[in-house]
């Protein structure tokens, strides 16, 4: 018993550097943001305590509420399209050989492109005057213009995100599918299972782990999206594609309203924490049941 205790203590010492790094890079900055969020900061040495006033102001701000609803809509649309599409792509891929390797490299390519470059590519690609997509659609008789039509701006943004990130879901799903033993497929075939039944009862349960990671990554990333819409639409037309992070950046960097921006950040952080926790807990609860 005494020996076990010594072992446990050594393990804690091993974890200590991680705790220090997390404290230095995460906890202390977060505490600072909380401190900022309850003060009116005029300059480095002049600040006044205002309590929870910035929180009240942020929650009552219609621009915040609109950006929040837009953000939820965007994340939901991204997940609804990218997760099934990623699974379909992964299921269609060969499992080994040169073709599989080539396809994996091809799939990984969009993930290697810097986010602002993705925004720039799509900005040019979708332009109605010179862009391949924009000009083609207009030639086909569709009056496509993402700089003036909110719906077109949204569709372009969604298409860009799907183009950029479906690969990630596909790669994760592919990794999950390769771990399904061939014996399971043979057993399903002997039982006369349909394609859908093979997917539902053989593949999906084994994909659950990687899909949880995929959904969490895409949920958090899409909820924090900044660079691509900033480059592609700049939040327009009007404010129709202004998401939370863009509005936050306007407050914090553009107007240098550190107090309100800090309160905004904390609210933003709490919602991401809540969504991620709810999602993770509900999936893991099902896991425990099954």
């Amino acid at each position: 018993m005494a020996q076990n205790r010594v072992k446990d203590n050594r393990a804690w010492i091993g974890v200590l550097p991680v705790l220090l790094i997390v404290a230095f890079s995460g906890v202390i900055p977060l505490m600072t943001v909380v401190n900022y969020s309850v003060q009116d900061i005029l300059d480095f040495n002049t600040r006044f305590f205002v309590g929870l006033e910035w929180y009240r102001e942020t929650l009552d701000d219609p621009r915040f509420v609109d950006a929040f609803l837009r953000q939820i809509g965007f994340s939901a649309a991204v997940l609804i399209v990218e997760i099934p599409l990623g699974i379909i792509v992964a299921r269609g891929m060969p499992t080994d050989g040169l073709r599989a390797s080539l396809l994996l490299v091809l799939l990984a390519t969009p993930l290697l492109i810097p986010w602002n470059v993705v925004g720039a590519i799509w900005q040019i690609y979708a332009r109605p005057d010179i862009g391949l997509l924009g000009v083609t659609l207009n030639e086909l008789g569709i009056a496509f213009n993402y700089t003036s039509e909110p719906l077109h701006a949204w569709l372009t943004l969604l298409a860009m995100d799907i183009w950029h990130w479906t690969s990630l879901v596909a790669l994760l799903a592919f990794a999950g599918l390769t771990s399904v033993p061939a014996a399971c497929y043979q057993a399903a075939e002997l039982d006369g299972a349909s394609k859908w039944q093979v997917f539902r009862f053989v593949e999906l349960p084994r994909l659950k782990g990687v899909l949880v990671i995929a959904v969490l990554l895409r949920l958090m990333d899409s909820f924090m999206i900044y660079t691509e819409p900033f480059v592609l639409t700049g939040g327009g037309p009007g404010n129709t594609t202004t998401f939370l992070s863009q509005y936050l950046a306007t407050m914090a960097v553009g107007q240098f309203d550190l107090g309100p921006a800090a309160a905004f950040s904390i609210i933003y952080f709490l919602f991401i924490l809540l969504f991620s926790w709810l999602f993770y807990t509900s999936v893991m609860r099902d896991e425990d049941r099954s």
């Binding site: 505490m31 600072t32 909380v34 401190n35 003060q39 900061i41 929180y55 926790w277």
Partner: protein, 90 residues
């Protein structure tokens, strides 16, 4: 520490959370937690319930600020009730 822009209320807030975490660590050493199922929809450990309490308390305050003009101390009282309910029977 000046760059962290400390105020007395936020200092107290973090001190309370740090004390609670320290207390939970000591309690864990003395009486290790067991996964238990209370009125929350999933089985939880003591640490899980503490996390749910804090997250819930934060949202009680946010909803209070968003929906009412009453003093926020009432929300803090409600959050304390929530904390007791989750920690004791959650």
């Amino acid at each position: 520490m000046n760059w962290m822009a400390w105020t007395a209320p936020t200092g107290l807030f973090f001190a309370v959370i740090a004390s609670a975490l320290l207390f939970l660590i000591l309690l864990e050493l003395k009486r290790p937690t067991a996964v238990a199922k209370g009125w929350l929809p999933m089985a939880t450990t003591r640490g899980d319930r503490f996390f749910v309490s804090l997250l819930g308390a934060a949202f009680i305050h946010l909803f209070w600020l968003s929906l009412t003009d009453w003093p926020v101390l009432y929300a803090s009282g409600l959050a304390m009730l929530w904390l007791v309910a989750v920690m004791a029977k959650g």
